[in-house]
Every structure is written in C-alpha cells, then in structure tokens.
C-alpha cells in the first residue's frame, strides 16, 4: 500500500470567491460600470422597486439588469418593458450567485458602455450574504409583512448591506411591525447603513433611493 500524506490547506472557504470578487470589482471600476447587488426574500417587491427606480434613472444613465433565478424568466420580461437591456441568469438550483457566475452574466449582457448594472439576486436572506458578487454596493429590501424581527434572524445580510429599503410601508398599519425597533436592530448590526422607507406600489421613497443610487454611480464612475 502506498503511503498516504496529509496536506494542510488552511484556506477560508470563501477565500476563492472573495479573490474573484475583488478582481471583478477592479475590472468594473476600470470600465466605469457600477454594479448594484440587490437582495431580499422572495415576494418582498424587488422587481417592482427596480422597475420604478429604472424609470427615474434611465434618461440620465445607461442601465442593464441581470435577473438571477433558480428557474423561469418572468421577472426578466417585466423588467424588459422598461426598455433597458436585461439578461436572465439561471442558477440551476443554486440558492445564490457567486463572483464567477456574475462575471459570466456581465459578459453576456455586454456591459462595457453601461454606467449602472443591477443584479437582482436570488430571493433568499442566507446564502447571497455569504458570497461576494464583486458588486460596488449592496442593497437589500425588507418588506413590512416579513416582520421586524428579520435583522435578528438573518444578521449577516443586514451587516453587509449598504442601503436597506423597508418596502410596503403603505400597509404598515395592518401589521404588527415596529418600525423604530426594526431600525434600531439594523443599526445595532450595521451603524453606517442608509435606511429608506418605500412603497414600490405608491412610489413613496423611490425618488430618495434613485437619488442615492445616482450619487453612488457618479462617485464610482468618477463623474
């Protein structure tokens, strides 16, 4: 019998992905493209929020969208009605996108002359938080019906996001959702996060989000 050997690897599991994500971020910086990674639970209003935001920004910048889903292309059809270029990514059963899949998507979308690319990540509060996609900034939507305890249950997601949109604020009075408590819980995890209350349905707060996004894109692209 051949002697076996023990090879020490001692590598953080996320290191490989983190390396690729950093490379991708640098590439995007060099071609003046801002990548926003948008994450949330299923049914929180990602697609509706996106459509309204895109309509406010599409005259001032060139936008592309990548829709990531386990299957189907329903969301991609909805987004394409706004007139921006959209590509559907299928994760084939995987619950998140990693930097490598994001890169392939960007190549498929041909983002060279785009100012802003929005990645609508798979609806899930766990795995997308653990895989850096190479995005310039992370955004997250929490909707009122999901409950104000979500920051306690999914802390990592709230820690890594740069902006939190609290959606469906128009139905706040019908739910036992303590807005102040929710904001306090999020700030405890992530003191620097920007929080905007919105209603994708009525359009409340979408202007403020679009302004934030527009500023970040200009800063990233050096304009």
């Amino acid at each position: 019998m051949k002697p076996f050997k023990i090879l020490e690897i001692k590598e953080s599991v996320f290191e490989d992905n983190n390396r690729q994500a950093d490379l991708l971020r640098e590439e995007l910086k060099n071609q003046n493209t801002f990548l926003l990674n948008l994450m949330s639970s299923p049914g929180s209003g990602k697609t509706t929020t996106l459509v309204k935001t895109i309509n406010l920004l599409k005259d001032e910048m060139k936008i592309g969208v990548m829709e990531a889903d386990i299957d189907s292309d329903v969301d991609a059809h909805t987004i394409s009605d706004t007139g921006v270029k959209v590509i559907q990514l299928h994760t084939g059963g995987m619950c998140h996108l990693d930097a490598d899949m994001t890169k392939q998507g960007l190549e498929g979308l041909n983002t060279k002359d785009m100012d802003l690319v929005i990645l609508e990540n798979v609806g899930n509060l766990v795995c997308p938080a653990e895989f850096d996609t190479g995005s310039s900034k992370n955004a997250m939507i929490l909707s009122v019906p999901e409950g104000d305890d979500k920051p306690l249950k999914y802390p990592l997601m709230f820690q890594i996001t740069d902006v939190l949109l609290i959606n469906k604020i128009d139905v706040l009075e019908y739910f036992e959702f303590d807005l102040d408590k929710c904001i306090e819980r999020v700030k405890n995890l992530n003191p620097n996060v920007k929080i905007i209350t919105i209603s994708a349905k009525t359009g409340e707060g979408i202007g403020e989000f679009a302004d934030w996004l527009s500023m970040e894109v200009k800063r990233w692209n050096g304009k």
Binding site: K2, F4, K5, I6, L7, E8, I9, K10, E11, S12, V13, F14, E15, D16, N17, M94, C95, H96, D98, N124, V126, C127, E130, F131, L156
Partner: protein
C-alpha cells in the same frame, strides 16, 4: 439549506489545490467550522456525498472539527464562552462584546495519495 452551495464552493477550492499539488486521490477532507458559523454540521455530512459526486472528492470521508465561540467583554476585558453565556458577559452582564472566534469556516487539510 444553503450547505450544498457552500460545499460546491469547497469542492472547487480543493480541486484547484489538488491540481496544483499533483494529488491523485483523496481519502479524507477535514473542515473546521466555528460554532457561530451558519453551517450546520449535520446537514453538511448528509449532503456531502451529493456535492462531491463525480469530483476528485467522490468517495472520500468528511471530517468536521468544531471551533468554539469566544467573546471578549469590552467593558471588563473578560474572555468567556459566547454560547454558554448567550452573548452576555458573565462578570458584568455587559452586552458590548467582541466576538473573538467562532465564525470561521476553513478547509483544514486533506488526507491523500
């Protein structure tokens, strides 16, 4: 249940490492998982054979070492077992705690030919 996606990431890293080091076959993979990591060892174990099917890790055994979670109280500098005291300093009852360890998730080593 995101363990399968994470395991597939582990497989990618190990395959790259194995190719670089001319490894022929792998008997055992050893992972180190912190008590505060979001990975559940039980699920990892049961999903492992599926995640490694058709890769260099096919047929290998998975060993998991658990790393303890320790907290440091920033008020009184006491180091304590984070889970046992539910994130609260056992001396001064303070909640201003720095997590020193427990979030790790490492590929430690492989036993191979």
């Amino acid at each position: 249940m995101h363990e399968i996606g994470v395991l597939m990431e582990v497989v990618k890293s190990v395959e790259r490492y194995a190719a670089e080091n001319e490894v022929e076959s792998i008997v055992t993979l050893v992972l180190q998982i912190g008590e505060l990591s979001s990975m559940i060892p039980k699920y990892m174990k049961s999903l492992y054979p599926v995640a490694v099917e058709g890769t260099i890790l096919d047929g290998s055994e998975l060993n998991i070492e658990i790393l303890p979670a320790n907290g440091l109280c920033k008020s009184c500098n006491k180091v304590f077992k984070f889970l046992e005291y539910e994130g609260r300093c056992p001396i001064c009852n303070g909640r201003n705690i720095e997590v020193l360890s427990g979030k790790e998730f490492f590929i430690k080593e492989i036993v191979c030919y």
